[in-house]
């Protein structure tokens, strides 16, 4: 069978995958849900900006500033096409997904959430999609309703619908398209449809989904979408917030100051047009420009191929570890319902000990609560181990990972 993507060729583009670790091992990077590695094309683009046209954007009239502005804005247009947004001004640059969600909570939440209102979240949200809403709810006297999950890691749509039906004052739904712990891909489109029947807007935390599958905001019909460049081959320090134009037009600014204004007088200010009204201060120009190259890289591969590669590899990973004695795997058994990660525990072995031993093999996995302590409480565990894949991971690496897990069990004699 023809491989879905030429992983070995792709690997050549990632300088970090060639380095040797302290014991001479090559890096087997399985912490892609935390951040992905960067291809040399992205690194070069950042370097090129600093070497050839470093300047501040949007204001100056000389050549290099025009070049920088043009490159910066090209990224916005590329993102617009990548997620199929109607308008480029619906794309706002932030620092990360967390800041994107905070922007919604502060700018939109301030005017639209009041005492007694309800916000629906799910039990498996990342802290970044819980804490901003808690802060807002505490300030306004609103309430959060958490949609539960069943034992297989699927969202309980009945509870969700019941919240919407019974609690008249629900003003917002916010959920992750893909859980960063369970790996569950949620039926976002269906949820949005149900919420919209009640005229409730929906925030999609796309941090784990946008990097791994085709995303179409018009098809989803979400009102807000937040995601991060660094989880999809791009640099750190660039977050994206998509907001439907009609909502964005009604939102007051979040960070105020330079660049987001049209006129400033001693007593009043006229704000700039969309989307600049939401991008106060000098932005992360170099990394936004670098992100454009990351999007091009993913587009060249094709998001369907990314998803198919991950599905095949995660199926291989799941089947390779499911029969290990004492292993507990969380989330859906059906690989099609799962993104590119597997979270697990080995009985009698703390995830940190597991990760420390895997490190000897050059294997990088995540261990801990994955910033999802609400879910950890529900699962009644304090921590878990998570292996997450991307376009450069191979079956050979999974084989080494499985051998290493068995080695962990030998050390702990379980």
């Amino acid at each position: 069978m023809q491989a879905l993507l030429d992983v070995y060729k792709i690997k050549q583009d990632f300088p970090i995958l060639k380095r040797k670790l302290r014991n001479g091992k090559k890096l087997i990077y399985l912490d892609n849900a935390a951040t992905t590695q960067k291809p040399k094309q992205v690194i070069d683009a950042i370097c090129k900006y600093y070497s050839e046209y470093n300047s501040n954007i949007h204001r100056a009239v000389y050549q290099i500033a025009e070049e920088a502005t043009e490159e910066y804005e090209k990224t916005r247009l590329n993102i617009q096409r990548f997620i199929n947004a109607r308008h480029s001004e619906e794309i706002i640059f932030t620092r990360n997904t967390t800041e994107s969600i905070n922007l919604i909570a502060y700018a939109w939440g301030k005017n639209n959430i009041k005492k007694g209102d309800k916000i629906i979240l799910t039990e498996f949200e990342h802290h970044s999609n819980i804490v901003p809403w808690q802060m807002l709810s505490n300030e306004k006297g609103a309430k959060i309703n958490y949609t539960d999950t069943n034992d297989n890691g699927y969202l309980n749509l009945e509870t969700f619908s019941k919240f919407l039906k019974d609690e008249e004052d629900t003003k917002l739904v916010s959920l992750s398209h893909m859980s960063n712990v369970l790996g569950t891909i949620n039926p976002a489109r269906e949820i949005i449809k149900i919420a919209h029947e009640k005229k409730v807007p929906v925030v999609i935390d796309g941090a784990q989904s946008v990097p791994h599958m085709h995303t179409d905001v018009q098809d989803l019909d979400c009102d807000f979408l937040a995601f991060s460049a660094h989880k999809m081959l791009g640099p750190t320090g660039v977050g994206i917030l998509y907001v439907k134009k009609e909502i964005l037009e009604q939102m007051p600014p979040f960070i105020t100051g330079g660049d987001m204004i049209r006129e400033v007088h001693k007593d009043n200010t006229v704000f700039n047009d969309l989307p600049y009204r939401f991008e106060g201060g000098t932005p992360n120009i170099a990394d936004v420009i670098g992100f454009n190259v990351a999007i091009d890289y993913l587009k060249r591969i094709g998001m369907k191929n990314v998803r198919d590669h991950e599905t095949e590899l995660i199926k291989y990973l799941y089947n390779s570890i499911k029969d290990i004695k004492g292993i507990k795997i969380y989330g859906p058994e059906r690989v099609m319902d799962r993104g590119g990660l597997v979270t697990f525990n080995l009985e009698g072995i703390h995830p940190h000990d597991c990760a420390t031993i895997l490190d000897d093999f050059g294997i990088a996995i995540r261990s801990g609560h994955h910033c999802a302590q609400v879910l950890m409480e529900k699962l009644d565990i304090i921590a878990s181990s998570r292996a997450s894949i991307y376009i450069y991971n191979t079956k050979e690496e999974i084989d080494i990972f499985v051998d290493a897990l068995n080695h962990v069990r030998r050390i702990f004699k379980v």
Binding site: I349, H352, D353, I357, F412, K413
Partner: protein
């Protein structure tokens, strides 16, 4: 290499922790966690005069944090309470035989010492609230 970390002594204390549990009516009970990994340790002390007559720890976490707590209880049992002040990070790392831990895992090894030091400070400051700052300084809580 992890074989050096997960030696028999650590694994033995992890599986068969000494002084694990709770003291009924302790003179001090103190709890802390490591926000990075969620490791939790609580320590109960029974003090007679100035001597630690009984010490018990409870918690959940990795082999290093739990074994280190177990060994620490053995280290201070029946010792004067003030000895806790002088225990250093290196004392703990040498005691558990892990002087080469990386920065991420060193916190696991030292969590129980932090809790114990906070427990001692709590015991004295309950009696004399003004002594807190001085004790904190002297006992080098990290």
């Amino acid at each position: 290499m992890s074989e050096d970390i997960y030696r028999e002594m650590i694994l033995d204390h992890y599986r068969n922790p000494r002084n694990k549990g709770k003291i009924e009516e302790p003179d001090v009970r103190i709890h802390d966690s490591n926000p990075l990994c969620g490791d939790e340790i609580s320590i109960d002390l029974k003090i007679e005069g100035d001597t630690i007559k009984d010490v018990k720890f409870d918690g959940r976490g990795c082999a290093i944090s739990q074994a280190s707590a177990s060994m620490l209880t053995e280290m201070v049992s029946n010792k004067p309470l003030t000895t806790i002040k002088d225990i250093t990070k290196n004392d703990i790392l040498e005691n558990i035989g892990l002087t080469n831990l990386g920065p991420a895992r060193i916190k696991c090894a030292l969590l129980s010492l932090k809790v114990l030091k906070l427990g001692m400070i709590k015991f004295y400051t309950d009696k004399d609230p003004n002594s807190a700052e001085k004790l904190k300084e002297e006992s080098k809580v990290f």
